[in-house]
Subunit: 320 residues, 2 copies
């Protein structure tokens, strides 16, 4: 096989056609027609073997996840997804692996009608870099810097399930088969909150997606906005699986486990009624977990309202 054959067989065959793609895969570059009058939203994320996933990871789940983590970033900006590129560095050509990887990736791509428009194939240690493109009406992107004192802090879905799945995989926790499957889906096939992101825009200006743990990601919002926040531990939204494991794992996984790919956003007091009116249009739960306050940094409070210290607030690749 040569590179061209690989591209035709695995990628061109499944790439969605869109009218705004004048030149897709196969030239020196893609030629795209941005939606008139919109801003372009661009994000990229990399998954590395042995760092972000185990060597025996299901290739279909990897294909899904490598795109999902990027769509999650678009969701956190309230962007409408358009296109993506894939830079895939492979140690060898394994047709069965590639087929499953592409099946997983394109199943998600087609669900959101996001088109693969280009990329790169190279030899080397397995490295998956996706770049995703979306559009927003100018000035409506949800930004980390827009949290204001008095805003309420919300999260979508539930927190900590991916952390449980990782603990289970590492043998530090034993889950029933059904529970392991449920949280395994959260770790391996996260759902990007695209639809939620576009609804959030109606009553919020500030969001982040929770990839490295609520504690760390919310702290990034606070730093960018020059404010502080208090969050009530007892309010963190937990799945039934997580609740059952609480006695042994505690709350850290929900606060700092990472890989939730939920949205954390803030809502000004005068917009809360809009949120309440919109709740039924969301395909996921929304939970108020705290408040933006003057000052800096994140204060976590226990059931009695006393501040608590946690072992970790999230994951940083380059932390000392």
């Amino acid at each position: 096989v040569d590179e061209r054959e690989l591209i035709e067989k695995y990628f061109l065959s499944q790439a969605l056609q869109r009218d705004d793609v004048a030149v897709g895969i196969g030239d020196d570059a893609a030629v795209l027609t941005p939606p008139p009058g919109k801003q372009l939203v661009v994000t990229t994320d990399t998954l590395v073997e042995g760092v972000h996933f185990f060597s025996d990871a299901d290739p279909a789940a990897l294909g899904h996840k490598s795109l999902a983590v990027n769509l999650s970033d678009l969701a956190a900006m309230a962007a409408y997804p358009l296109w993506f590129t894939l830079s895939l560095t492979l140690p060898k050509v394994d047709p069965a692996w590639l087929k499953k990887f592409c099946d997983g990736m394109f199943a998600l791509a087609n669900r959101y009608r996001v088109a693969l428009v280009g990329g790169n194939l190279a030899r080397g240690p397995l490295n998956i870099t996706v770049e995703a493109f979306g559009s927003v009406t100018p000035g409506t992107a949800l930004l980390r810097s827009q949290a204001k004192i008095g805003d309420r802090v919300f999260v979508t879905g539930t927190l900590g399930d991916a952390a449980l799945a990782l603990q289970h995989r590492l043998g530090k926790l034993t889950l029933s088969d059904a529970d392991a499957r449920a949280v395994g889906e959260r770790l391996h096939r996260p759902t990007p909150r695209i639809d939620a992101g576009m609804l959030v825009r109606e009553f919020s200006s500030c969001a982040i997606d929770i990839s490295d743990g609520l504690g760390l990601d919310l702290s990034r919002v606070l730093a960018a906005s020059g404010v502080g926040a208090t969050v009530a531990l007892t309010r963190l939204p937990l799945s039934e699986v997580y609740r059952r494991q609480m006695p042994s794992v505690g709350i850290d996984g929900a606060l700092a486990g990472g890989e939730d790919y939920e949205l954390c956003f803030t809502v000004a007091p005068d917009k809360l009624s809009f949120l309440r009116d919109a709740v039924n249009r969301f395909d996921c739960p929304l939970t108020e977990i705290g408040e933006i306050v003057a000052g800096s940094g994140l204060t976590i409070k226990d059931a009695d309202g006393n501040p608590v210290e946690l072992k970790s607030r999230g994951f940083d690749h380059f932390a000392a």
Copy 2:
């Protein structure tokens, strides 16, 4: 250090400011304002340690080259460069390495006023993926598919110098220090033919950048256009260094060595006078090397006009 500190110290500090970047590095995604009425041109290329470069490669040259190979793709579309993203997977944080890498990358970025708008940092085997963005007036991108029978085939600059540098590095060829330096610059710090690409658009609709060897890259044009071509070996533009080495290395390096990052483009007979009028506006030589003909595939002819077979026509990562 944490990821944020790395980004601020090495990347934010040098990233060019542009008015069309509403949100740059530091949020979940970049928010960009595409030039009104233009098409967006997007390309990505990856450099992998041990595959595309040696482990002792000069980090400043790597920074230059990782962006240059992407700008070269924009040049081959005749796109005006706007922005880029960098996904950098690093085995460890080496401040001296990062500083030099960024210096090399930003020196080139600033020359073309192309702004770093986002990216990703991860741990793992060294992998450098850049994605570059440019703009074109709708319908004016130079495409591989637009070669027509009767068109003349041109290349910019000289061919084979990077191949000589690689042979020298591998100990298969001994060059004088001055010659090694000259061709080493071609291998390690290729000049993207951005300005040439924009001039070529005035009299051409078809171009490719020569990254894997003229033979292979021109063959891609022929396949995409459904035509053949003849190229005269004696017309390949060679540097003085290459000419001196011809007795020992032959012509294969110029035809199939790869990493030239020159443009190969075609010109219809009725546009040749426009090319002649424009020659002095180019900052590099232009050389006519052959002609597009009916049929398929590339025919190489020797000084007597007889077809010749070559050992290789270029580099394919996934060739069997």
